[in-house]
């Protein structure tokens, strides 16, 4: 039995990638193993932990619950796409570094993408809204207190950079 393969063009972080994948290939596996974008991590493969979260047309999605073939028409953003063009850290990444919002770093990419989308939707979250923003992601190392601080700090950084005219 030969598995039928599909040619897909995935637009990831503004770059088009061509791949041949079976219909059952998960988007998470395609990103990691076919495209080599290993920043997206897989923690549970059943959509609960949130480590594999990527932005699909700007909205956070669990890439372990999507097939690669269903992502062909979308613009996908992974953690690699959150870094500024000059190589410096984006505001959410920078906030995590300042607030010690990560330890082993495995769940971190999913938090970074989730928060990036969350702050676009709500650039001035209250403390409670900062907690809500990350309430669907699991972290086993940090206890979350510093991640909440990082969300608050990221909101500050985003607002500073937008008032100074920088890219948010």
């Amino acid at each position: 039995m030969t598995e039928e393969l599909h040619d897909v063009r995935l637009s990831v972080n503004g770059v088009a990638h061509d791949a041949r994948v079976p219909a059952r290939r998960l988007l998470s596996d395609a990103l990691r193993h076919d495209l080599g974008l290993t920043g997206t991590h897989v923690g549970c493969e059943h959509g609960v932990c949130g480590a594999c979260t990527v932005l699909v047309d700007g909205r956070p999605m669990r890439s372990c619950l999507m097939f690669a073939v269903s992502a062909v028409d979308a613009e996908i953003t992974t953690v690699e796409g959150l870094t500024e063009e000059d190589g410096s850290l984006g505001p959410v990444q920078q906030a995590f570094a300042e607030c010690h919002g990560l330890q082993c770093g495995f769940c971190t990419p999913g938090f970074l993408t989730t928060i990036t989308a969350g702050l676009r939707e709500n650039p001035t979250p209250t403390h409670e809204e900062c907690r809500d923003m990350i309430a669907g992601n699991l972290c086993r190392c940090t206890g979350y207190q510093n991640i909440v601080k990082a969300v608050e700090r990221a909101a500050e950084l985003v607002s500073t950079s937008s008032t100074t005219g920088g890219e948010a």
Binding site: G39, E45, V48, A97, E98, H100, F106, N137, G143, Y144
Partner: protein, 795 residues
């Protein structure tokens, strides 16, 4: 002047790659088409004899390269996996085979190993294997294991793997003579480490150099290396084990070798291809390890002040189907149970029991949470019996600051005396009372009651033996660029070792922090190492790195003194430049010193050109004098006499909902003493994470086995790990710094501390809120609701 970095909250260097998605975890190694992927057929039954395995249809599947069952394993691969830590009391130790031989003893035990083009095809192939079983009665839970109506292993009578008793004085006699006496039965259920990244191994056999290269998500690369060499019949020198970035460990990755850590390199050599195994989440639940399940019976005798006269503890430890990690967990419970207290006399006896469930190996805290829970529940019971404040009963039993070193008279996990090196428990308790507002709580409770709200406060104290031996080593190399390359053999799973160890080296050598690069867990760089467990990395490798940097510095000063025609004692190193104190013009860069340390002076770089102006060495002696080596390096090992004992105390205020029995955390306070802090930001991060894991273990997490040995909640949907919504909003932390006299930096371990008192502190607070005795943890809202019903129903 270089500022001292020890004790400062330096931002982590490893974060730069993690935040960019450039970490290299094991599944990120060997990405692409050339790597083959493995999947494992696991037993769906808890206890069965394997009658037949039919793999005929497997190789028909396109993309499948090979399948192995037990019968295909040769030589040492066909023998049981090693029992890592034998103990005379472990009279009936048993370990599994890499692939089950003729019996499976838990759901999830590996039976067959398939290698295919990708994981999808490998799993398809696993689905084609047909196994016929003869079912055997499963033994699940401590009660059934003790009853021993059925046996897990035919040749282990009573399901008892080990029985160990220790005595200090005559506790039963002291209890009989004591003015008061209480008995308690206390249980605690299973949980598990649950790192976000499961286990995983990649191996590549290089036929050109006759070498095996293994990447594995482990807490001990040297251990895996030795195991791979022995099991595959290779010389140790042919095997390199590299620990990539590890997505959390918490204990489960110290056990080794896992079957796949041997099967993957075996397959890589057989097939001449790179092979990868990445465990999925369900596999992690049913084929890695669990911990915590114990039942305790306490008898305690005490006087009118609550002072202990004697403590007698019997407990039963559920170690699952196999005992690869020996008796470490129950030994730690039995010894660390005493915490900061003097029991006057103590008898402890445990039985370590087989069940047809996933095996037990240490999980962060490693038996201490159970011990702390048992001791602290006992303290609370004494206070309740005497009508005394819970802090008073604890205080009268504390070891006092002038009593250190204090010998508890027991043998610890490392086979050495349980002797506490330093601590100040009364000071910790004072800080904790202040931090949580202990003395103001009765008024708060009354005010809340007036609003119809129920609150309770609890506290728990612990002592944690950290930094156990036998040793760790370090190598420090100053390159001709002036950059410093440091290697230590133990591994890293998120603790920020590359940062804290660089802080130590920058301080000792007088170099810029950013010029120091630390590598951990790579046997090519440091082949002698033990591993990362028992809160030992900072103490063991930190001390070794400090000593190695000192040696490198001695060599720097010797060569620089020669070059600058000065006395070594007149030299200083600041920001990577050696100069004569008070004469800053007389100076030499570390990189140039590195050039001078090696008589082979090809002028490849600026430092080499700069070196030509200096002259070192005695022209009458060989270029490399006797007892010296070329190169600017320092290497040393640290091997302490015994563990160093950190301590701490937690307090929590909870609110329980009168209708739903939901348990809400209003305040969480921690006083922590791990001696001198290298990086307070990282220590506090460790405490935060430990507390969150503790909240999970106290209120939510359990392994829900049914009577047939099926794990019913083997997914993140059903095994309730805390999200942000379950953890305390903030944690108030105060540090006490009682330095350890045992190591050059005066440090103690901090990694496990946060999780140790959780079950104890929540039981204490919920009992205080509800006025109901809490004797079984974890406690969920529905269980609390049931307890309330039982009280109502009891006339």
């Amino acid at each position: 002047m270089t500022t001292k970095l020890m004790g400062t909250p330096v931002q982590r260097v490893e974060d730069q790659r993690f935040l960019r998605g450039q970490g290299r975890y094991v599944d990120d190694v060997a990405v692409g088409k050339d790597v083959l992927h493995a999947a494992v057929l696991r037993s769906p039954h808890a206890h069965a004899r394997i009658v037949d395995i039919d793999v005929d249809e497997v190789l028909d599947l396109e993309g499948v390269h090979a399948v192995w069952t037990y019968d295909d394993l040769t030589g040492p691969m066909g023998e049981p996996l090693p029992l890592l830590i034998p103990h005379p009391a472990l009279t009936h130790g048993r370990t599994q085979y890499a692939l089950a031989r003729d019996e499976v003893n838990h759901v999830g035990e590996a039976i067959a190993f398939v290698v295919a083009d990708d994981r999808y095809v490998a799993e398809d192939a696993v689905g084609r294997i047909k196994v016929s079983y003869d079912f055997l009665p499963p033994v699940v839970g401590i009660d059934n294991a003790r009853a021993a109506t059925h046996l897990v292993h035919d040749d282990v009578p009573g399901n008892v793997g080990a029985r160990l008793e220790q005595n200090v004085g005559d506790a039963p006699a002291a209890i009989a003579r004591a003015p008061h006496r209480l008995e308690l039965d206390l249980t605690i259920e299973r949980s598990a480490c649950m790192p976000m990244e499961g286990r995983g191994t990649v191996a590549r056999w290089d036929a050109d150099t006759n070498r095996m290269q293994v990447w594995t998500s482990t807490q001990t690369s040297t251990g895996v290396r030795a195991a791979v060499a022995v099991k595959l019949g290779l010389d140790l020198g042919q095997v390199d084990v590299i620990t990539p970035d590890v997505g959390g460990g918490f204990g489960v990755k110290i056990n080794h070798p896992w079957p796949e850590e041997l099967l993957v390199p075996m397959a890589a050599r057989a097939l001449g291809r790179t092979v990868k195994f990445i465990e999925d989440r369900r596999e992690h639940f049913i084929s890695s390890a669990h911990e915590r399940g114990q039942v305790h019976h306490v008898t305690v005798g005490f006087d009118d002040d609550g002072r202990l006269h004697g403590l007698d503890v019997e407990f039963w430890h559920d170690h699952g189907a196999y005992t690869p990690y020996g008796l470490i967990v129950p030994i730690i419970t039995s010894t660390q149970l005493l915490g900061p207290y003097k029991p006057q006399s103590y008898r402890v006896v445990f039985e370590s029991l087989y069940t047809n469930t996933v095996m037990v190996t240490p999980y962060r805290g490693a038996g201490r949470p159970q011990g702390c829970y048992t001791m602290e529940r006992t303290m609370d019971a004494i206070a309740a019996y005497l009508g005394k404040d819970r802090t008073e009963v604890r205080a009268v039993n504390f070891i006092q600051p002038d009593e250190f070193p204090y010998d508890q008279g027991l043998i610890f996990q490392d086979g050495r005396e349980l002797e506490y090196d330093s601590g100040d428990y009364p000071a910790s308790l004072e800080k904790l009372k202040e931090l949580v507002g202990w003395d103001d709580f009765p008024a708060f409770k009354q005010a809340m009651a007036a609003q119809g709200r129920t609150v309770g406060i609890g506290l728990a104290c612990y002592v944690e033996g950290t930094g156990v031996g036998p040793y760790e080593g370090a190598h420090v190399h100053i390159e001709t660029s002036g950059k410093v390359k440091v290697a230590t053999g133990l591994t890293t799973q998120g603790q920020g070792h590359a940062t804290v160890f660089a802080q130590l080296v920058a301080d000792e050598l007088g170099v810029r922090f950013e010029d120091v690069e630390v590598v951990t867990g790579d046997t090519r760089r440091m082949p002698y190492a033990v591993g990362t467990f028992a809160s030992r990395a900072a103490v063991m490798s930190g001390s070794a790195i400090h000593l190695a940097a000192k040696r490198a510095k001695e060599k720097v000063l010797k060569i620089a003194a020669d070059a600058l025609e000065a006395d070594p004692s007149d030299l200083q190193i600041v920001d990577g430049v050696v100069s004569v104190k008070g004469s800053p013009g007389t100076a030499i860069d570390l990189g140039t010193v590195s050039v001078l340390s090696n008589p082979l002076r090809y002028a490849f770089d600026e430092a080499s050109k700069a070196a030509t102006q200096f002259s070192v060495g005695d022209p009458g002696k060989p270029p490399v004098p006797e007892d010296e080596e070329p190169g600017l390096e320092g290497k040393d090992f640290y091997s302490p006499e015994r563990a160093t004992f950190a301590s701490g105390m937690h307090a929590v205020i909870v609110e329980t909902d009168p209708l739903t029995a939901e348990i809400k955390i209003l305040k969480y306070a921690v006083v922590h003493d791990c001696g001198h802090l290298i990086n307070p930001m990282i220590v506090e991060g460790q405490i935060h994470g430990g507390v969150a894991q503790g909240v999970g273990g106290a209120l939510y997490e359990r392994m829900a086995y049914d009577e047939s040995g099926q794990l019913l909640n083997a997914s993140f949907m059903d095994f309730l790990m805390p999200y942000v919504t379950e953890v305390p909003e903030s944690i108030d932390i105060d540090h006490l710094e009682t330095p350890s006299p045992l190591n050059p930096l005066g440090i103690k371990g901090a990694g496990e501390a946060g999780v140790i008192p959780s079950a104890a502190v929540f039981a204490s607070a919920i009992e205080d809120a509800e006025g109901l005795p809490i004797a079984a943890m974890p406690i969920s809202p529905s269980e609390l609701f049931e307890l309330r019903q039982t009280r109502k129903d009891t006339p």
